[in-house]
């Protein structure tokens, strides 16, 4: 099996998914890193080649054409398509991030190849790529099998623990200049506006602090942001809080929002509807604070406190501060 890993770079930073995918690729090739290649796109991206080598990339293609500086679907697709044609990969891995999910399905169709999206594990079953992927926002897991010789897979962030392979491995880098067919560039990026927060997205966050309808209004979310700042957590919200206008939709966790899987998920004033639980049930540890002892969230929580969130938040702030100050 010969694998290409698309290592995503956003704002000059290498996403942690690259290390996760390389760890999975090593498992699939029994650590035969010669058969694991990675590709970096955008001017200045070569700075990350060493990291990729440390996680097991035997070769790193560096694509520094200006068309790939800011993500645009078609230049990314054409670049990876040409690498696939030149090198005969059987598996192409990418992150199930907004970028990966935007162009991988299109790339797979261009090669008439199986597309397995947002998977939590991949295996080689007698030459066929088989993966497990959550559906219904995680209420169910489907085992899916690609029927083609070449398969494209996007991997859910934060699920596969990344492991360094050889921290002193030096990257075999190769500059690659794709041959673009610019007539296919039918959409043009005009601008990228930064988000309000520098914190990781909910889908990639390892710590999440969420608020529900009990937050009462948008201003009250400030106390969650303050608490989150102490430990570097990202703030989320339930659908009830978003629908009530207390938080923007990009903060929504659940079946019609984001599916998250942090190490720690703290739910303040969230009762735990089926659609919310579906979106956060794979969190490694769940803490719930709610005034209602019968709230369904307590059945999913590792630790719960029956209390008013407005009294609990300042106390959590004090306790967590003690730890971070220590």
């Amino acid at each position: 099996m010969k694998i290409l890993v698309y290592a995503e770079v956003r704002n000059g930073k290498l996403k942690s998914t690259a290390a996760e995918m390389l760890t999975e690729a090593r498992k699939l090739t029994n650590n035969n890193t010669e058969n694991i290649h990675a590709v970096l796109l955008g001017e200045g991206c070569s700075a990350h080649a060493q990291t990729l080598a440390a996680y097991g990339a035997g070769k790193v293609f560096v694509v520094e054409t200006p068309e790939t500086n800011t993500y645009q679907c078609e230049p990314h697709i054409q670049t990876i398509s040409q690498l696939v044609q030149n090198n005969g990969y059987t598996l192409v891995l990418g992150p199930a991030s907004p970028t990966g999910r935007d162009f991988f399905p299109r790339l797979a169709v261009r090669h008439k190849a199986g597309m397995l999206t947002d998977v939590v594990s991949v295996k080689n079953d007698s030459g066929k790529i088989v993966a497990r992927r959550p559906i219904y926002a995680g209420k169910c897991i489907a085992e899916v099998c690609s029927q083609t010789a070449l398969t494209f897979v996007t991997v859910r962030p934060n699920v596969i623990p990344s492991e360094i392979f050889n921290s002193s491995a030096s990257a075999a880098t190769e500059k690659f200049t794709p041959n673009f067919n610019a007539s296919a560039f039918k959409s043009k990026i005009a601008d990228v506006r930064k988000g309000k927060s520098e914190k990781p997205d909910l889908t990639e966050a390892s710590l999440i602090i969420s608020g529900g309808r009990a937050m009462g209004n948008a201003d009250n979310f400030k106390i969650l942001h303050d608490l989150a700042d102490i430990v570097g957590a990202t703030v989320g919200a339930s659908r009830a809080a978003v629908d009530s206008g207390y938080a923007p939709h990009d903060m929504q966790v659940g079946q019609t929002g984001k599916t998250v899987n942090p190490n720690l998920y703290m739910a303040f004033g969230i009762s735990g509807s089926i659609q919310h639980l579906a979106g956060m049930r794979t969190s490694k540890v769940i803490v719930a604070i709610n005034t209602d002892p019968d709230a369904p969230i307590f059945q999913k929580a590792d630790y719960g406190i029956v209390a008013d969130l407005f009294q609990a938040v300042p106390l959590f702030k004090d306790e967590l501060k003690k730890i971070t100050d220590a």
Partner: protein
């Protein structure tokens, strides 16, 4: 302007998933269906685009007879007519590639200026159809659209797409184009009563899946399983709150080791 909207009928968000046949299938007997929530934003945007630029709007859905309910709802919201791809009696697995080929065939026949759809369906969570149909039709696509401003009488648009951390990518696109609607694109209207009455009489054409399916599945589903249930955790109540918070933070550190 010719506007097409793709709508999927999905089990509602309160659905509990149960397995059938030892995990070979899902037990659909108690499923209640709804219009895929993201498709409601697509329908609303299609209707608003038609209100602004004139023209005609068409809803396309695929599935068994029940999906006509979703199509009638779209028509009640203002869509002019429907094309139903009937899958009744079709037993072969339809993966997203198959579905995309069938939809692409209908799009090829209808030749719309813009195709709206929800950025993903909440059942399979794949978000494949927009990019896949766009590729099959050689059209540009923008996914997770939170704003679309039409220019030049509907010949081009400035489109905003939400990415991670609240970041927004802004694209300039020309028609024909495929746009995947996200939640904050608009506020879908409730179908007005006269709209519901009118919708019953709007034309709904039927195509058999075999007429439009051009390929077989590239991906098959082997089995389904349910995620492991967590065992009940520790819930504290009735003690002084500072003590309870201290205990939980202590456990997060010593037992769960997450902070």
């Amino acid at each position: 302007m010719k506007i097409l909207v793709l709508v999927k009928h999905v089990p509602d968000t309160e659905t509990k998933v149960r397995l059938a046949g030892g995990g070979q299938a899902l037990d659909e007997s108690e499923f209640k269906y709804m219009v895929n929530p993201y498709d409601e934003f697509a329908i609303e945007e299609a209707v608003r685009t038609q209100e602004k630029n004139g023209g005609e709007s068409v809803v396309v859905s695929m599935g068994p007879a029940r999906v006509q309910e979703a199509m009638r709802k779209a028509m009640a919201m203002g869509i002019d007519r429907g094309v139903w791809i009937n899958t009744e009696g079709h037993t072969q697995e339809l993966d997203s590639f198959c579905v995309a080929t069938a939809l692409a065939k209908v799009i090829g026949e209808e030749k719309p200026d813009v195709v709206f759809l929800g950025q993903k369906a909440i059942d399979d969570d794949a978000a494949h159809i927009g990019p896949m149909v766009a590729e099959l039709c050689s059209l540009p696509h923008v996914q997770v659209v939170i704003k679309a401003e039409w220019q030049n009488g509907g010949q081009s648009a400035r489109v905003e797409r939400e990415v991670e951390g609240g970041m927004v990518e802004v694209y300039d696109v020309t028609t024909p184009v495929i746009l995947g609607a996200h939640k904050s694109l608009n506020e879908p209207r409730f179908p007005p009563l006269p709209g519901i009455m009118k919708a019953k009489k709007k034309p709904l054409a039927e195509k058999k899946i075999t007429e439009v399916l051009t390929d077989s599945a590239l991906v098959t589903t082997r089995s389904y399983s349910l995620p492991a249930e967590k065992s009940a955790g520790k819930v504290f109540k009735g003690e002084p709150l500072p003590d309870m918070v201290k205990k939980v933070v202590g456990l997060l550190r010593s037992e769960a080791k997450v902070i």
